[in-house]
Symmetry: C2
Subunit: 371 residues, 2 copies
């Protein structure tokens, strides 16, 4: 499945915080064909460090397809022989240096000054991502979607969609996600990772464009997030306590490292090369602040608005957004009269299983989408 | 129970790494009276951020007693009407600026240069803490202890005691502890917290004595450790998603913080004021590198050396040193022919419950010590 990135632009976009941006631009991808009645659309919302590249490849040579390729495509649960699957880059997307990502955030040049916004960029909210997507659906003439789905931050967006536009969402699928970030998650990774960026002297209050960037702070933030997105069972099964260099084990050499440290470091550096530290701060803030209904309705009223049938799919080993909190969301939705299916992603891979092991839920997704 | 700190000095102390220090000094406290036969001693080993102040108060005015005061004292499980309870500061103790802590580490003046050792201090090992304690017992004429016990890093020391000196330990009590730090714990808090210190430009390769200290890096390290030492259930029950300042909630103000962030920050700053960043790095390394037997024996042989009856007491909500790993240690000890009692600290307080809620295990401790 070959895919390409399109760009969607909105002039005079009013953010949830009340500030109007002169223009926002986001990238999007689609898989499958929109039916003449425009009634076969599925919207996929990406996770915190993800992009709109949900499935397929940009060229046949590409090593890895989009992150949910295991469940999006011909004959797969999100079946592109029938469905038109759409995926949109968030505002303040982390991977702003990825040439295939289009986003608007602190790294964007402010037309009023000719220099990047930096920390003068107004705060963004999960609700804003939903609004950009809604405007794109409007532009494509799509009134109602078959489903809106996503893992982690994608699950927050899916939930907000079902609350904001109840008549436009037939099904809501929230994978490894919750109602809002719990207080432990606000500390870890939340607070700790953003403090790591601020600790880097190169962050410089967010004013680093055209200068040396706060790469080390961003790398530490990504390590914190990556570790919390995994779990002890995963770490035991993959790296154990093996040294990075058997000739310099951590017990005898001051520079000795464990293999898991070396791999965590290498992965974070690779990812940081495509990312922007200020975008991280803005996106983390949007996630931390999110409450169902975005403050426009009390939470219980927000839940009562939902008309979509909902599938909640926590992962049993998730430390980041613990399954106990997803169970609590399911109960709150049921109390509000929402039809909820609570299933489980049976994986020891931690939070990341919602992205990397989504094929384990293929039957569950298929059954839910068929109803 | 009024207590006072004593100092124990050892000349020409040979570390596990092979380097000999001209002198080490550590503080110690004792509670109760050593019997004429010197056969009623209990050794308490402290946790990572702890000190030898395990019980009692230095003056009647002091607000808080030592950390395990709930179980050490007259009529308590470690009953000082019968027992002589002893507790010793570790080398490279974190709280080197606490006037009641005596320790030797990077902040100590190197007699050869007249300036603090800094990162030229040789690496220390859990085994070294055991050796210092063993020399103190020798100096006090104590051949064998009724029990050696401790939470977390204290549990590692207790285990190493039972392996290193099987004939000198009647009972070993390992609370919220494991055989060695698992790979997930090596990442988080291990790697992430030490990287936070190194990220602070004031750390300066460990050369900061007499200059501005890397307080911000140390504060972030302590936040990471503190968060992992708690758990979601604790965070839900204590702070929830309440804002630090109801007038500036995190969803509307760029400076708005959640209460749990503000409290985490305040606690870390209070603790950091007594601590040294290099000591943190050395102590973290000693914990990460520890394997039962300290590399002097293969792990299985190390376990077979143990003659002590062992009590393992994991906490069900512990993310730092997960109970699953304690269960694995219990199984390995049993395979090695060791008599093991595996109980559980029933708390939602996370890893810290091994320190702050030890009274919940009072009956278990009492029963085990009576056998």
């Amino acid at each position: 499945m070959l895919v390409r990135k399109e760009t969607f632009r909105v002039r005079e976009f009013r953010l949830h915080c009340g500030v109007t941006l002169p223009e926002v631009a986001v990238g999007y991808e689609s898989y499958g064909t929109l039916s003449p009645a425009r009634d076969n659309a599925v919207l996929i919302c990406h996770y915190f460090s993800g992009t709109s590249h949900a499935a397929g490849r940009y060229s046949p040579e590409e090593a890895l397809p989009g992150y949910w390729d295991a469940v999006i495509g011909p004959g797969k649960p999100f079946d592109t022989t029938h469905c038109f699957v759409l995926s949109v880059d968030s505002l303040c997307n982390l991977n702003v240096k990825d040439p295939r990502v289009v986003t608007t955030g602190p790294a964007t040049v402010n037309p009023a000054t000719g220099t990047p916004y930096g920390m003068t960029f107004p705060p963004v909210a999960i609700r804003d991502f939903v609004e950009v997507q809604r405007l794109l659906l409007d532009a494509l003439g799509i009134q109602r979607v078959v489903a809106v789905a996503g893992p982690s931050m994608g699950g927050l967006q899916a939930l907000e969609w079902a609350i904001a536009y109840p008549e436009r969402v037939a099904r809501m699928l929230s994978v490894t996600s919750v109602a809002s970030l719990g207080p432990w998650t606000l500390m870890m990774p939340g607070h700790a990772a953003t403090e790591a960026i601020r600790l880097d002297p190169r962050w410089n209050g967010g004013d680093y464009y055209g200068k040396a960037e706060p790469t080390e702070g961003l790398v530490l933030a990504l390590k914190i997030v990556s570790a919390i997105a995994r779990c002890p069972a995963w770490a035991d099964a993959t790296y154990g306590r093996r040294p990075a260099d058997p000739a310099a084990p951590p017990d005898s050499s001051p520079t000795g490292r464990f293999l898991i440290e070396a791999e965590l470091d290498a992965l974070a550096r690779t990812r940081a090369a495509l990312m922007d530290a200020n975008h991280y701060l803005y996106l983390a803030r949007a996630n931390a602040a999110y409450e169902p209904g975005s403050g426009l309705f009390p939470v219980e009223e927000a839940f009562r608005r939902i008309r979509a049938r909902c599938l909640l799919l926590p992962c049993r080993s998730d430390l980041f957004l613990p399954p106990t909190e997803t169970v609590r969301l399911a109960a709150a939705l049921e109390r509000a009269g929402v039809t909820v299916t609570l299933a489980q992603l049976a994986s020891d891979g931690g939070h990341l299983a919602g992205v990397l092991e989504i094929e384990k839920a293929a039957d569950t997704l298929r059954a839910f989408l068929a109803r």
